[in-house]
């Protein structure tokens, strides 16, 4: 916490690999341009960073790679705004910047010996992928791992190769679903909205934590179903996606009630959310 440091100065990163995930959705694998930065950098599942094409501004995403996989970080984004449009114009070998990690973490230590239920919708799988891989890499510490992932259409599903990998693994149960009308003739997964599919799946809440990530509408309808299934508010985790700029609880943008999402979040339990005003 030295006061002579410029906290807004990012790391320079080299785009090492670009993967096209879905229409307008890309994953970047980034390496530190300066090896010393790489050596001193570490993060934990759930944290986020400020990614930027220098000259176009900064944008906030979670770190999508697992902390157990060293020497690179990955981010996945959809092209929507100014910064993500600039990002999507980058090619392998280009320079961009990153600063972080910021925010709190998923308490995966506390989850040891429990069943994990991951529920993700659309472009919200990336923030969860970090913690999924993290727990999968430490597989022996956890009991059943179930992943429910839904997207609007089959084409919108991200990380298709990893979804395949998870399907093939006997120790992970993966359920994918697409919204009605989004299926293709050869679609083998479920058809229906995430909350509906979840209700049908009716996973046991016994010794289980649920981690929910998705667009506000999905979260809004998923949470009551989890509660109905008997999940305690303390066992439901989600991440808030408020707009952020600084990452230090100063710029005021992500202020929800007394918390700053960038400092006290982005990971919250439902119990914590219920304490907060509905401004997220």
């Amino acid at each position: 916490m030295s006061s002579i440091e410029n906290i807004y100065k990012p790391y320079l990163m080299r785009v090492e690999k670009i993967t096209n995930e879905a229409p307008d959705v890309r994953t970047f694998r980034l390496k530190f341009a300066n090896p010393e930065d790489a050596a001193s950098f570490s993060f934990k599942a759930g944290q986020f960073g400020e990614y930027s094409v220098l000259g176009e501004g900064e944008s906030t995403f979670c770190i999508a790679s697992a902390p157990t996989r060293k020497d690179y970080i990955e981010c996945t984004f959809r092209r929507v705004g100014k910064v993500t449009s600039a990002l999507s114009k980058l090619e392998e070998g280009d320079t961009m910047s990153f600063r972080g990690p910021y925010g709190n973490i998923f308490p995966i230590e506390d989850w040891k010996g429990k069943n994990l239920l991951y529920i993700a919708g659309g472009i919200a799988l990336p923030p969860m992928r970090c913690v999924i891989w993290n727990t999968v890499d430490l597989r022996q510490d956890y009991k059943d791992i179930t992943i429910l992932y839904g997207a609007r259409t089959v084409a919108d599903l991200v990380y298709k190769h990893e979804l395949q990998e998870w399907t093939d693994r006997p120790d992970i149960k993966l359920v994918t679903t697409v919204d009605p009308g989004g299926e293709t003739p050869d679609w083998k997964g479920e058809v229906g909205f995430v909350p509906t599919v979840l209700e049908k799946m009716a996973p046991s809440s016994e010794n289980t934590v649920a981690i929910v990530c998705g667009p506000p509408v999905m979260i809004k309808f998923t949470l009551p179903i989890l509660s109905k299934l008997g999940f305690k508010d303390e066992d439901i985790f989600t991440t808030l996606e408020n707009r952020m700029k600084c990452g230090f609880g100063k710029c005021g943008r992500c202020n929800v009630g007394k918390v700053f999402v960038c400092k006290d979040g982005p990971v919250f339990t439902l119990a914590q959310l219920k304490e907060l005003p509905q401004e997220y």
Binding site: Y8, G55, E56, V80, S97, K245, F248, N255
Partner: protein
Amino acid sequence: MSMEIKSIQKDSLDKLFNSLKSRGNLIYAPVKVKNEVQFDFVEKFEQITDDFIQTTQSVKNSVFPKIETLFKFVKTGKEVKMLDMDMSLIPEIVIWGIHPCDVWGFDSLRAIFTWDTHDMFFEKRMDKLTIIGMSCAKADDYCFCTSVNLGPGSTKGSDVLLTKTGNGDYIAELVSDKGKALATSMPDVFVQAVQSKKEDFLVVVEKRFDSESLIPKMQKKETFDSPFWVTNSLRCLGCGACAYVCPTCACFDIQDEGYGARNIRFRCWDSCGLKQFTIHTSGHNPREVQSQRWRQRLMHKFAYMPERNKVTGCVGCGKCSRACPVDMNIAEQLQEIDQKM
């Protein structure tokens, strides 16, 4: 810190000014511009006025400028080179004739910029400040400093606080070590204290509410959910005037600007009153209507900041109410909350 009291004779105030100037300080003082009084860098003592209640804008831009370059970068092909700002270029500034409320604004800013991670730019600028405060002999209906535990003669935060006495001489309270050092270095300006009581020359500011009782009320959930916010903010236009003139509002935006290879990343003022402040790229807006944004402004100052930053984010200067185009009077609304909730 024990405080020393000296006095300055009315005709040696310019001597103080000139000595400060000759030591290479920039002097940021109130000057009359058209019908208003604004802080500006002054060259001559005669430019300064002390005939005002409040300036339109606060002096926060001396430590939290409208635009602060965070770093520069040069882009050549695929390469980017980052360049640090030369912090040694930050000038020594003397803020002259600033009222106690405005002075206390710096403390709120400090709470925001250093509550967790320290902000280098703010701290460096703060270090270079010398604050010569001036007690208030005048006030108007908008002033409510006494309601937030300050007062027209409050020494909090000043290095030296001057109070003009009946005969034009000044009582000089040396509040900080910086202030004492300043006085020691100018023995011909800071002379033996006269026998007059500062309180006799201060304006009386009526207490509208008590922040001690208001803060817990603001923190109650019922207050947050109260229909008060909608009814009282219907006329709010949703501009950023209140936040931009406020001595303690510190919300900012980070942006890039440049021409070709040469670029800068900077931060600039932003306001929670503006609709675009919290809007997501998807179009979802956590604070969708103006009443939520107005509530956020007051809550941030009177509920969240006291809890997290241990300060009230308001100094009772009333600048926001004066600047408001539609007469959103903050003191009036706070008073109402204090009485009703």
